[in-house]
């Protein structure tokens, strides 16, 4: 059976590397599934999860946006940060969510609402992935 080499790399180092049968994720233009033999493609990603199907099991990786690069035998995800679902620190994610919410409610000028919203979305994404596991 044909497989795809999937790797997730971040500035802080590679996060994930494996051979898989299918990768699906959410791009900015919609949900996207990649099977082996896909034509070369580049797509920007949403903050969300990457599902990697291999040998009957599915692995989840939380990514904070970034890019998806597809080659016929290879998928590379370039994200500014990414974590495997079982490595997510739930307590830290919850703290980050609470902090971001507080910043959003604070209506004073020095708060960058867009950044706070983005960090809230990243935190919620991590929490939902971590909780799905347990």
């Amino acid at each position: 059976m044909k497989t795809l080499q999937v790797s997730v790399v971040t500035p802080d180092g590679p996060v994930y590397d494996a051979d898989a049968q299918m990768v699906s994720t959410k791009a900015q233009s919609g949900d996207l599934g990649v099977l082996p033999g896909h034509i070369p493609m580049v797509a920007p990603l949403e903050i969300g999860s990457v599902r990697v199907k291999k040998d009957g099991s599915t692995e989840f990786i939380a990514v904070s946006g970034g890019l998806l690069e597809v080659r016929p035998d290879k998928v590379t995800i370039l994200a500014q940060s990414a974590e495997k679902a079982d490595n997510i620190d739930l307590a830290r994610a919850k703290a980050a969510a609470a902090r971001a919410e507080k910043r959003l409610q604070d209506k004073s000028d020095h708060v960058d609402a867009r950044r706070a919203e983005l960090s809230l979305r990243r935190a919620i994404n991590r929490i939902s992935l971590a909780e799905k596991k347990f």
Partner: protein
């Protein structure tokens, strides 16, 4: 000649200093190791993003993104990466001297440039000379993660996009080896020199090349800054390590020559005492 006690005091204090520099050397060696590892871990990401950026930029001729276009230059930004603390040999001074001279050569008036300072030493240097420091980041950890530096990369790239700067240069110490670090100048923005990497692939763009560039280019520019900071950190720890090593060596040398002086002075005192006793005994006979 200094008295026995004076020399003794100097020996003791030099010994104490050498203990401290020795400890600092070992701490820096450990940090240097980690910093080099971090820089290595970052490399696959940089290679990949470079490859994709080159392919996309080459494959989308006719598509223009503001970050790719050279504008008429009204104001230049200089991103200068230094350390927060001193005692790192020529690490900071060589970068700062280089930047200062470049600025003097290129610009006539203060309005033509501004500094973005990463590191306390660099910031203090420019503030003291009355040069406009637009943005500063101090207190970076020794092993910065990407999240730590988004405070500087985001706004820096933003300042180019909103027209504060029309071009942006980056200065840092490039790490060559434990004993060699070179001051490097790199033009960061506009991205006119995305080097083709050889294995170009023609991609399908989803949804379009413009949208990809919109995401890719800021991320690419930020990665370049992060790479320079990691490189700078590796250089910083290497520079501090060798500075502390030579300080320890110098202290040892000093202790040796002081001990020699001390022994001579002690021997001279003993000889003098004996002469006095012999002289006294001879006078009695």
């Amino acid at each position: 000649m200094a008295s026995l006690r004076d020399i003794k005091t100097r020996i003791t204090s030099t010994k104490k200093t050498s203990q401290i520099t020795k400890a600092m050397e070992m701490v820096s060696a450990a940090k240097w190791n980690r910093a080099v590892q971090n820089a290595k871990a970052f490399q696959p990401y940089m290679d990949k993003i470079q490859e994709v950026a080159a392919s996309v930029a080459a494959g989308s001729k006719g598509v223009n993104h503001p970050m790719l276009v050279s504008r008429p230059i009204k104001k230049t930004g200089y991103l200068v990466i230094t350390s927060d603390r001193g005692l790192a040999g020529a690490y900071n001074s060589s970068v700062l001297r280089h930047v200062f001279q470049t600025i003097k050569q290129r610009h006539k008036s203060q309005d033509e440039y501004a500094i973005i300072a990463a590191g306390r030493v660099g910031r203090d240097f420019f503030v003291k000379r009355g040069i406009n420091v637009e943005l500063e980041i101090v207190g970076l950890p020794d092993q910065p993660s990407f999240a730590d530096i988004t405070d500087i990369t985001g706004p820096t790239v933003g300042m180019f996009s909103d027209g504060t700067f029309d071009e942006l240069y980056m200065y840092y110490n490039h790490y060559v080896s434990a004993i060699q670090q070179d001051v490097t100048e790199r033009k960061l923005l506009p991205l006119t020199d995305i080097a083709p990497t050889g294995k170009m692939v023609s991609y399908e763009f989803e949804p379009s090349a413009e949208d990809i560039l919109e995401v890719l280019l800021p991320q690419y520019a930020e990665s370049l800054i992060f790479g320079a900071i990691l490189d700078g950190k590796a250089s910083e720890h290497a520079a501090r390590m060798s500075a502390m090593k030579s300080a320890t060596d110098n202290a040892k040398e000093l202790i040796n020559s002081l001990s020699l002086q001390f022994n001579r002075a002690r021997q001279a005192a003993i000889t003098q005492e004996i002469t006095e006793i012999v002289g006294g005994a001879a006078a009695l006979e």
